[in-house]
Symmetry: D2
Subunit: 134 residues, 4 copies
Amino acid sequence: MHEIQIVVRFGETDALGHINNTSYFIYLEEARIRFIETLGFSLDTNRWNFILASTKCDFISQGYFNQHLLIRTYVSKIGTKSFELDHDIICAETNQRIAKGKAVMVHFNFEKQQSEPISDGLREVLKSNLVLSS
Amino acid sequence: MHEIQIVVRFGETDALGHINNTSYFIYLEEARIRFIETLGFSLDTNRWNFILASTKCDFISQGYFNQHLLIRTYVSKIGTKSFELDHDIICAETNQRIAKGKAVMVHFNFEKQQSEPISDGLREVLKSNLVLSS
Amino acid sequence: MHEIQIVVRFGETDALGHINNTSYFIYLEEARIRFIETLGFSLDTNRWNFILASTKCDFISQGYFNQHLLIRTYVSKIGTKSFELDHDIICAETNQRIAKGKAVMVHFNFEKQQSEPISDGLREVLKSNLVLSS
Amino acid sequence: MHEIQIVVRFGETDALGHINNTSYFIYLEEARIRFIETLGFSLDTNRWNFILASTKCDFISQGYFNQHLLIRTYVSKIGTKSFELDHDIICAETNQRIAKGKAVMVHFNFEKQQSEPISDGLREVLKSNLVLSS
């Protein structure tokens, strides 16, 4: 299980007093990138290997400024050219899940601007992070 | 069909040269709020009536700085306490759909911090904006 | 006098109920870029001509969601390789100035990654937008 | 000397490949709030004590995705109702200062919506963090 911790920044809230919905996608992107880094991929933007095809967030309960959030990431599906990540966003103080995220990532060649099959090596690494989603 | 137009801001792009995925959710929120305004609801944050339960964006092709985007919004489902919105994000220059969005909105009483049934009046207005999703 | 209008987005507010300070810099960037466009410069990011050396915002009174803001831009100083812009941020509803912005722009060659003198042609255009700052 | 460390997020960059100027103000806000926390103030938004009157950032060299940045904060001036903070933004990898920030903070009563004198107790704490700015 891959996990990062973030602390909610003030500017990530909105006038309803809670975390603005768009901020959750900042956290999911951060979790995704740190997960990809652990797979052994470069974070050099000139050698970027994935493009986001879809992302989703279900909001279970409201989050607030200064909360410590754990974002847990696991592989939920592996396709030919793409794979899916599921995320749990947990409030560290209460240990409750406040949101659930999902991302579909496509193996993408930015030079050729086209998708490419997932290599056997990557498939093995992804499999080792595969978890049946809840 | 409800439609707003936005022009992609420079800070909404990222180092891959395209619109950052989180920025699409800014556009979807803007479309949602403007749609809700047309339903006759106040935009006073002390009298806010809806909470976002889930949102999703499918990225079809990359978007760029300075593009003119049309965000079209329609009701795709009406439940007891919630309803769903579907969005098309269209590049105005090419008339191509570059992304598809979705939102589940819950009728919510922020004072009581609980969801509430959709009134008959709201149901009628939502029905008049109901479109079978593509 | 160059002027753009923006409408404050919901996600640009924060938990104090007003516009978050970082959002004003989004508006100033938008004003700057639209001003530079009127000078005849390309907005192609591969042919970008300026880099921001400094920016500042003085907050005079609080701004809120859904306000219509006018951002007025004028040249306040012209140097050898740089020039300064001053901005007034006006609430369109009350016609009151709610914030004042400033930017120092350097003529910059991104390929060579170094600053370059302002050409005579650019200097003339800038002069025609020069206003003694208040 | 008060110091926080942040790691540049992907969405904080822009299409020029570097950190977008607006993102620096996110870092400065985070540094400011953490500094205020160390002064003993509550971070409860219903008991907020300061409002930002002005902020500025000088950009010395470009910053990039994934850089570790140190944001150092010190008091540079103490007035009757306000005080000033100066910030250095240092690239942790090279130990070079890539940006300089400034903020003018006003002691503010959000209930009464008016500024208030700095108490003797706060003045003492601020004095102990006073550093002549460079």
